[in-house]
């Protein structure tokens, strides 16, 4: 395929993904907006006012970056895992497999589609947070790079999950039993300085901690870990998951007999 044809194919996949999640907006865009608003009200306004400062900021300001990141992570992942698995289930993935689109373009299309939803939700949550607190951005490039890379990483994760999934249960196992606990324990609601030494060490093994803190550094200028270590971790995971996803596509894992 010519570069122009590849670009058209890539665009087609991305636009198809955007069309999908906007068509079913009550299932995709509305729930995170409602959930995050509840977090802001309950944890930020009601409970947060009794907690006091955290990391030098009032509690509401402290949790906003974590909640934005949580929404980005969850939605990037869910978009790709549900869309790609649904294509496998309906066998419409065959439309792509018979076409000349190379594997890397298929992967890029799905990842960017997942990023589109993750970033759109991130923006919605950010706008909602402005109704509860004032946000000043400490380091804009850090914010942008961290949020883009994190949504790319979790879109890749969703893609691999969808490749491996053979039934609908497999699609929800990772988000429910892996992603959610890691996100909640990834410093969204607290600074790991509050934890005993042992648990601080355990927390440092959680990759989501680095993403939440990298993003928090970009917005508030405070972080439990070195923000450049955070970026490095995200890049390493992206390279690793890209290699795994491309290998699975080349072998036709779960999509070719």
């Amino acid at each position: 395929m010519t570069p122009l044809a590849l670009w058209t194919a890539f665009q087609t996949i991305v636009l198809r993904e955007i069309r999908r999640f906007t068509r079913i907006w009550p299932q995709t865009l509305l729930p995170p907006a409602v959930t995050m608003t509840l977090y802001f009200i309950i944890f930020g306004s009601l409970i947060g006012s009794r907690i006091g400062d955290m990391g030098g900021f009032d509690y509401m300001q402290f949790i906003v970056p974590g909640l934005i990141m949580m929404a980005v992570i969850t939605n990037s992942y869910s978009n790709v895992v549900s869309s790609f698995f649904s294509m496998k289930f309906q066998r419409s993935i065959e439309e792509l497999l018979v076409s000349p689109v190379p594997n890397w373009t298929i992967l890029a299309g799905y990842v960017v589609g997942g990023m589109a939803r993750g970033l759109m939700i991130g923006l919605i949550v950010t706008l909602l947070s402005l109704a509860f607190t004032r946000l000043s951005i400490h380091n804009l490039p850090m914010v942008v790079v961290t949020v883009f890379l994190t949504s790319a990483l979790f879109s890749l994760g969703g893609f691999i999950n969808a490749m491996l999934a053979t039934k609908f249960d497999d699609v929800s196992i990772v988000p429910t039993f892996v992603l959610t606990p890691l996100t909640y324990l990834g410093g969204v609601f607290y600074s790991i300085d509050l934890l005993p030494d042992v648990w601080q060490g355990v927390s440092l093994a959680n990759p989501i901690l680095y993403m939440v803190n990298g993003f928090r550094y970009g917005i508030l200028g405070v972080s439990d870990v070195n923000p450049f270590v955070s970026l490095g971790m995200i890049v390493i995971f992206i390279v690793l998951l890209t290699a795994i996803a491309l290998r699975m596509l080349a072998r036709g894992k779960g999509i070719r007999h």
Partner: protein, 316 residues
């Protein structure tokens, strides 16, 4: 001579050890209308699945218009359109979106894709349904949608796996006309079908596959010449009370009261009518008892089962 499809030594062994294809060879010329026939589980869909990249092969080579799928997959796919046996489009997407999206996968810009989608949706009688979610279509419409989708990038080779399964006779005939038209316009067509009448009506060349092996690969004309006896069913003006004696012909009266006559190859029908005229029997209509190709197909597959010692239940 240009070949649309060249398959050499194609093998497929599944993970459980089952060998679906045992090194088959198949050559389909450009412009041909070709049928790949075989009983259930013979290896038809596996063969077409490998050609269309939905199944990984275990050995052998496949070339589409000279493009090897191992070394030049992208070019091979650009020449190929596939209509699968099962519905495989997104049930929630609209008809027009399904076709234009497929064009996009082939690198066709949206503006051009819309023109092409309109052309084929109109030809296949689906233009009025362009904004309908695909799940709302009838079975026949869904089949036509898959044909429109497969043609939107104007492939030189169209593969159809059971394209008229579950389609009523009227619609089947109109699909035949459409396929004949695109074949006349230069598209090579390969189809598998359980309706052997369909293969006999449409195809020029035929391969029969059984237990993962090609047991016959020839022209339809040559194949049909192998029929030694053909049975004709004659409806007579007045019901026959007893089986007439027609020298040189074997005949019986069937359950519907019609006369069934076996006519050997080379015997000719004129002799039969002379005999009938002589007995004062007036024939008001005549038809062949079984589809000729079907008769041959069943015989070949059963012979193959006997030779290979397999228990060959033939379902067509």
């Amino acid at each position: 001579m240009t070949y649309a499809l060249e398959i050499e030594g194609l093998e497929k062994r599944y993970g459980d050890g089952f060998q679906a294809l045992k090194g088959i060879d198949l050559h389909v010329r450009e412009g041909d209308f070709f049928a790949l026939l075989g009983p259930n589980g013979a290896g038809k869909s596996t063969t077409l699945g490998i050609v269309s990249s939905l199944v990984n092969k275990s050995g052998g080579t496949v070339r589409v218009f000279g493009n090897d799928i191992d070394t030049n997959l992208s070019a091979a796919k650009l020449n190929l359109g596939v209509v699968p046996q099962e519905f495989n489009f997104n049930q929630f997407e609209k008809v027009f979106d399904i076709v234009t999206t497929q064009a996009g996968y082939y690198g066709i810009p949206l503006k051009q894709a819309r023109v092409s989608a309109e052309k084929y949706l109109k030809k296949l009688g689906l233009w009025d349904k362009r904004d309908t979610p695909s799940r709302m279509l009838s079975g026949g419409m869904k089949r036509r949608l898959m044909i429109a989708r497969a043609l939107v990038h104007e492939p030189r080779l169209l593969i159809l796996d059971e394209p008229t399964a579950g389609v009523d006779i009227e619609l089947r005939r109109s699909m035949w006309q459409f396929l004949e038209e695109i074949n006349r316009n230069g598209t090579t067509i390969i189809l598998t079908t359980h309706y052997l009448e369909e293969a006999e009506a449409l195809c020029r060349n035929i391969a029969i596959i059984d237990h993962g092996e090609i047991i016959r690969h020839t022209s339809k004309r040559e194949l049909l010449q192998q029929l030694s006896v053909e049975t004709f069913v004659l409806d007579t003006e007045t019901p026959l009370e007893s089986v007439p004696e027609l020298p040189g012909f074997q005949c019986v009266i069937n359950g519907d009261g019609a006369l069934e006559v076996d006519v050997a190859k080379g015997q000719g029908l004129n002799a039969l009518f002379v005999e009938l005229e002589g007995k004062g029997i007036k024939v008001i209509s005549m038809r062949t008892k079984a589809n000729r190709l079907e008769e041959l197909f069943v015989r070949m597959v059963e012979d193959n089962a006997r030779v290979s010692g397999a228990t060959g239940e033939v379902r067509v």
